[in-house]
Each structure stands twice: as C-alpha cells, then as structure tokens.
Amino acid sequence: MAIPQATASASGPKGASKPKRHRPRHWHLWKDKHYRWVPDGDCGWRVQSYVVRHKHKPPRRHHRGPGPRPADRCAPNAAAGPAPLLDPDPRPPGTYQGPFGPAQATRLLQRAGFGALPGQAEQLASLGLLGAVRSLTRPSGSATLHGPAPVDDDGNPIAPADAWGHDHLWFLDRMVRSDQPLVERMALVLHDWFATSNANVSKQQQMIDQSNLFRSACFGSFLDLFEAVTVDPAMLQWLNGAENTKQAPNENYAREMMELFSLGADRGAYSEDDIREQARALTGWRYDWSNELGAHNFRFDPKRHDTSVKTVFDIAGNWSWQDACRLCVENPLHPSFFVEKLWSYFIPQPPSSSTGDGLISTYRGSGWAIRPVLEAILTSPDLYQGPPMVKPPVVQLAGMLRSLGRGIDTYAWAWLCDEAGQMLFWPPNVSGWDDTRWLDTSRLRARWNIVNYAIDEISVDAWNGTYSATETAEEALARAMGAWGSPSLRDEHRAELLDLARRSEKLATASWQQGPYRAMRQNALLQLIGISPDLILQ
C-alpha cells in the first residue's frame, strides 16, 4: 500500500513539470540583495549580487557585503612565470620515476590537499616531483587564507566556538582557503587518528584548540605530538584521562593510546597487564568544572599520581605520563604501525613489504619524525601509479568549493556533511571514521544533494526565457566543465555526458522548448560532473 503521492508542483509551459525541491522548511523568508566577491575567471575577484533568504527579519541596515576585497586566489608567484626548477634529478631510488606533469600534480594536490585551483597544477608541476612535495611538506611561515571569509546564511561571521556546526564550517573553510593545504589535510588525518568528539568535550573551543595542535605538530616528532595529545584538554575529557587517579585508575586512554594511536590491536604489542600499568603511569591529570567555563584549569596534580613502580612491556620503573608515551613509541611494533597507518590515508593499497621496511627505517632514522615519512609516501610510485581512492565527504566538498570559487556562505554544509557521514569534530567513535563505508545509498544521496547545493548559485533558471536556444552539445559540456574548473574526466564519462547533451537536444522539438531544455541540460551536466566518479575519487 503506497503512501499517497503529493500532487505535482508548479508546472512550466505546456505541462513540462518542475520538480519539487526539498529544503529545510522556513515558513517566512525575507529576501534582499547582498553583494559578494566571486572569482573573475583569472586570479582576482569581482562583485556579484545575489539574493539572501533571511530566516529572521533582518535589521534595515544590516551588512549586505561585499566586504573588503579578498586576496588574489592564485598563488602569488603563479603570475611571475615558472618557479626555478628544484627537482634534483635523478630522484632517489624508490621514489616515483615517471613523468611529473599537471596530471600527477593534480593527484598530489587531491591526496595531500583539497584539489587544485586554476593554474595550480601547472605551477606545482614546474617544481618537479621533489620540489612539489616539499612545497607542501615544508611550508614557510603561517598559512594565508585566500578568498572571502566564512559567513552564515545571514551573512554574519561564523562563530566556531559557540554555534553548533560552525566548528565544522571553520575547518571546512580552512580546507577551502588555506595556502598550506597539506597542513589542513594532516589536521584532518590526525583528527581521525586521535578521533575526539564534541560528544564528550565541554567546549567547542577545546576541539578547535586540539585541531590547531594538529596543525602545529603535524610535520614534527610523533612523540612530541603524542605527548601533547595525551594531555590535550579535549582528549583528557574524551577518554577520561582526568578521571584517572591512583585511587581509581581509569584505563580508557591507556587502552586506546596503544590500540588506536600507536601500536594496534591483536599484534602482540601489549597485554592487558600493560594497559593497567600504563593507566597507572598516566594518573594525575585533573581539571575544574563550572557551568560557565565547563572543564577548565587542566593540570597535573602530583597527589593524584601513582608514584609506585609500573611494569610496561616488561620494563619496570616509576613511569610518568611522558614515559607512557615514550614507551609506546619505543615499542618495536610502533614504527610499522605508524608508517602503515599514515600510508593508508594517502594510498589505498598497503605498501609492499620492501616499501614498508624503507618507511620504517626512514622513521626510525629520523627519531620518529613525521615529515620524512610523509615525504616518502608522497613521492612513492604507488601514489601516482596506483588505483584511486574514495574521497572523504569533506574533502570532496572542499575541493568542489575550491573549483567553483565559492567560499563558506551557508550552514547547510554542516548538516549535509553530517548526512554524508562526516560531521567534523563529531567522529562516530574513538577509532575515527570508517574509510570503507563512505558510500552507501544514503551517503551517496547526501553527496548528490551536496553537489546540488554547491551548484545552486550557478544553475540556470530554465523558464526566464534568457538561455541560448542554439547552444550545441559540445558548447554545453564545455560551459559546464568550465564552471567546475575543468576537472579531468575519464573518457567514458565525458562521452556519456556528451551523449546526454545530444539526447537532450533531440527532445527539444517545439520552438518554445529550445531555450528551456538547453538550460535544464546545463543544470543536468553541472550536477552529473559533480557526482561523477571522477570527482568522488582522488
């Protein structure tokens, strides 16, 4: 027995029906015109007007934009011609030896960032493989954010520490605008590695502080990072590190620090006894609570610390929380765990045993530094010649917004990413997001709807009588591809889209159909490029 169907909504001329749009329901909307900066097709910006649908009646003199002109969106030296060649060929043995052109640079920017801006792949390719990778792994100074600052649907600045979902927007914005994309990508990797959630952290600001810790420590010593995470306020709340006292040890962090953060389960790296002993080594952290500040004043309290001898991995000593971290990192099974986990974020198939051994010796030789391993992974042949992998939802969205030249201007990205399975700062549990489950019918539907929302502003109104009635199929596809920043599509997908363009054209038989059908064809092409396997994969 079917649920009664809704009657068809507004119809176009001659009965061609317009589909119903599903959106959050706002009964009253106040529309007015705002102004914003949009890409000018080159490196700069131009002012564009657009209609804002306010959910609450806005004050008469509210900010309508466009605000100060943002910095140019191309890298500053892009216009200054090719950078000097830094590639000290021959590349070291074991690194990728094939050509390094825009296609390879694009893949590098997809895996180690959030995709290329116009011209960026060519510029990166000109640096050579090693130069390109080092430009990502060795950024100088602090990051610059290019493009318009993030705003909510009413045009107000976002409030990442206070408003629900705005922390998600804050991180997403950095992915879209930062000129140090690998720092942001590593912040995402480490957010998954040390997965902490707002679900058990009293303030969003503490999650943001942890995220910034990842940014500052993502290329340095893993031991330094591990120690900092261990006593990070968000982590101390999330895994009960501050409820771990000598009178009542709490083993939550002790277990996860080995199982998920440094050694891995079921590898014989540690025993249940080691967990109990590590928990005792970690005792002593505490915080104060107030309803106003939440958890605050995090500190080590020697009175709560268990000072007796603990035996971890058969080594006895009066271990401290720093020792607990060091002992994990010094465990012989840590380097293999570390390199394989880091590898898995960038390359879908595991490294060969010889590649793995090379990474392990690089890691050991550097004194547990992250950057050398990262550089080895990003110059590995497997990255350039191996199969593609599915982008996490926020990576796909950030890449789309970069391609479209669109900044963060709606809260919808928070709940749409939630539907797609990745609300930042709300990982499903302490083991992070499951990379094997990014795609099912509800999550792919959410990605489809994300694409639809992303192209909202550039979609064409089919019924206002202005769209070209003579545009050819080739012109239509070229226009849609241009709007997406000319991503590279597989031949069979491009052929399908061209076929769609031609099929649609044949359907326009009456003269009144010529323009509107072509406009809808443009919207269909925009949608399908965004949801094509090429944009879902990296």
Partner: protein, 449 residues
C-alpha cells in the same frame, strides 16, 4: 554538558566498559546492562510498498523480497501502541508541579514553579500542569490522559542505563536481551512484516528487540529523493546517465565502490521516488519530533501494518544544570507534538486505533542542586494518551513530606503493572507470557470500555 553523566551515549559507555573490562564495568555505571537487541543482524531494506528505506533487524535468513510481500499483505487494522521516551529522567515535580505541597518551594528555591503557573491538575489540587505541558493538560481536560504521577519500582536504580534497561525489557533483570514489546511481537507478529515494530529514531529501540521476528527502524519519514534543478523530460536523461555511471566497467576497487553505490542509489530513487510525501489534515508545530509524528499518522492512514512504534521525545531530560530552560523547551515541543498527533488521528478517524505511552527511566531528586538543576532520583512519571484512554490518575502523588531513604520521591505505581494493563486492555494479549511475575501486579484500568 553535565559534570555528572558526561552525556554518554550508550555505545560510548559500552566502549568504555570494554576498555575497563580488566577490572569489571566502570564505576560510573556499575553493572550496566547491555542494551536489549545488541547483536541482532541489521539489513537495509528498500520497501516500495512502504515508501521508506528501512533498516531491518533480526530474521537474517528471510529474503528481503518476502518482507515486501509481507508488508503489502499484513493486516492493517491492528491496534497500535506508540511509545514516547523522555530520555534522561523526568518526573511529576517537573510536569505536574506540586505547588500545593509546602516542601516544594523549600526543596526547589530556584526551580519551583510559581503557585499560579500553568493550569491546575483536576484530579489532585496540589498539582499543576507545567506551562510547557499545556498540550497534555488540554487532552487531560478531555479525559484522554491517564497520569502516573509517581511510577517506578522497588529499590530504584539511579543509573540511566540500568533503569532504562528495566523499562525497556519490562523486568528487573540486567541480563535479559529482548524488549517487552519485542516479546509481544514474538507472540503475535509474523516473520515477514518488519514494520510491525518500528523505531523512528534511526536505530532499533531495545524495547522492540525481538527474539525471532523482524522489526525495523527508519531515519526519516520523508522517503528518498535526489534534489535537482532539472525537470522532465531532461531529468530522465540525466538519471539515465547517472545510472550509466553506475554500470560502466571498473578497473579498481575504489571505482567499483563508486559504481556500486551509484547503481544502488539510482535503483532506490527509481523505486521510491516521490512516494514518501505525505500531507496532514491539521498543522503541526515545526519540530523534528512533530514532523515524525505527522509522518506516522500518515503511515497509519495509508495502512502500513504497524503494531508498536517507538520514538524519542523532543529534547533531553537529564537536567543536571539549567533545568528550567532546557526542560521547558523539550517538554513543550513534545507535548505540543503529542496534542497535534492526537488531533491528526481524530481528523483522520484513526484515534480509536492508537494509544500513546509517554515514559522516562526515573525521576529527579526533589532537592535541586547547586547548578540550577536536579540529580537522579526515583519515582518518575508516565502518561497514557488517546481517545480510548481511561483518563484517570493511577497511583497518587505521595507528597514531599516523607521521602524514601535516599531523599527521593516514593513510588506509588509499578511500571510493570502499566505494561500488563496496556497488553491486556489495549493490545488484548495475555501479559503473563510477556511480563515476568505478571500475576503479582494489580491491573489499573487504562482503557475505556
């Protein structure tokens, strides 16, 4: 959020329990039971006849096609019980404020309602309906609400998880793994209709966890569609190309994964497109909770074969801090939603088939804490709502002059007695096979003859 309970979800607590297995379950919730239904197999099922994407639990050997048949053919005239759960602990001191009890204002110097707030509860002049519970007050005035002002059980457990578990399984046993309504479905349900037990919160409610019958959960009452800026006939071509993306050959596991999901998404769109829409004869408040109830009323009207339905109330009720504001909002949204649902059923002529039960795992401590909130207590409150509800209070409000040994409100009715009456008087099923020790509970009259 709260320094007492840290706002744990159950799965998080299970994780931390596992993390501390070396020394038993965590002290914060000692002996915490595993939720009923844990470990039941789960399959996603796309029901054309229901117009919904269903997550089906249990009965893993039955082919999905049989469910389609079963839903289409199941009887559609059964009585329906809808359970609304106030998650976190709510009681009469909040909903039916004892402003006429002299100790009330002493125990709650900051949180007490004013003596003239809300409306008087006609069955006990000491009590007043919280202003946010006006929806229930209205229905009570029409004789459609049976109130339990102090419900619970002997030796109340103040753990959310343990107490909730007892309510969910209908007995005081931490080891039981089927819900009380699940056992009812095991008795009267069939093997090919997962809609007979429906959770509307996206995952299975332990209350309807069965031993061997399939039950279902839904995320959304809005069906399944893809947004688009394209209409027919061009949209047909667009979806044709989308489907082609899903059927082209793959040369890597990643590509195969995308193609598979694309093909499934297009199939689901074809099967379910446009079916999930519904209209309501009355207007509902604009909350997610009300929207789900509006959908539920439409499902019932459309003949979907449900027997028991579970849904969480709007808001959270573990009000350790800032109780006044948090509670008012959630309670208002919930009570307005229930009122609108009742009006909808009345307008559709379905109100004789549906009974709503509102419950919570326990009540709050009568004495407020230093954070303008209240901690875990004992007696909670419950309400049975419907045109067929008897409309008479069950058990009295015991007053605050004498509290139990933990300074909590004393219990004057047992939740298992309520369950026995609902089973026998509403669902017309012998409670003895469902509720252990059923014969020891006197049955309050909950249903009009």
């Amino acid at each position: 959020m709260h320094n007492c309970c840290n706002n744990y979800t159950r799965s998080q607590l299970l994780r931390s329990a596992a993390a501390e297995a070396g020394r038993g379950l965590p002290a914060i919730e000692a002996g915490m039971p595993e939720p009923a239904g844990t470990g039941l197999s789960r399959r996603t099922f796309l029901s054309w006849s229901a117009g919904l994407a269903l997550a089906v639990y249990g009965a893993s050997k039955i082919p999905l096609a049989a469910f389609e048949e079963g839903i289409a053919q199941a009887a559609q005239t059964d009585k329906i019980l809808v359970s609304v759960f106030f998650d976190g602990g709510i009681d009469a001191l909040s909903v039916l404020a004892p402003t006429g009890d002299p100790r009330y204002a002493q125990l709650r110097p900051n949180l007490a309602l004013a003596a003239d707030a809300g409306t008087e509860f006609s069955e006990d002049p000491r009590l007043r309906w919280h202003p946010s519970a006006a929806g229930l007050a209205t229905l009570h005035g029409e004789g459609k609400v049976s109130a339990f002002p102090a419900i619970g059980y002997d030796h109340p457990d103040q753990s959310h998880f343990t107490s909730r578990h007892y309510y969910e399984i209908g007995e005081l046993d931490v080891g039981s793994h089927t819900g009380w309504l699940g056992r009812y479905l095991d008795d009267v349900g069939n093997d090919d209709n997962p809609l007979q037990g429906l959770s509307m919160d996206g995952s299975l409610s332990p209350m309807i966890a069965t031993a061997n019958r399939p039950v279902a959960a839904i995320d959304s009452v809005d069906g399944y569609d893809l947004w688009s800026h394209v209409s027919q006939p061009i949209s047909d071509e667009m979806y044709k190309s989308f489907a082609r993306f899903g059927s082209l050959p793959s040369d890597s596991p990643g590509m195969a994964q995308v193609r598979r999901a694309t093909a499934q998404t297009d199939k689901l769109r074809t099967d379910l497109g446009g079916i999930g829409d519904f209209t309501s004869p009355i207007s509902y408040p604009q909350t997610g909770f009300s929207h789900k109830l509006a959908g539920l009323a439409a499902f019932i009207d459309a003949g979907l074969p449900m027997r028991v339905v579970t849904i969480s109330a709007s808001g959270g009720y573990d009000t350790h801090a800032d109780e006044a504001e948090d509670l008012s909002r959630g309670l208002r949204d919930t009570c307005e939603g229930v009122l609108a649902f009742q009006r909808d059923l009345e307008a559709r002529g379905l109100d004789d088939r549906v009974m709503v039960e509102l419950w919570s795992e326990f009540g709050r401590r009568p004495e407020e804490n230093a954070s303008l909130g209240t901690d875990h207590g004992a007696a909670g409150c419950a309400f049975v709502v419907g045109s067929k509800a008897k409309g008479e209070m069950v058990g009295e409000f015991p007053g605050l002059a004498q509290l139990d040994q933990n300074d909590n409100v004393r219990v004057t009715s047992d939740f298992r007695a309520m369950y026995c009456s609902l089973l026998e008087q509403w669902l017309e099923h012998d409670a003895a096979s469902i509720i252990p020790g059923a014969s020891s509970f006197a049955r309050p009259t909950l249903v009009k003859p």
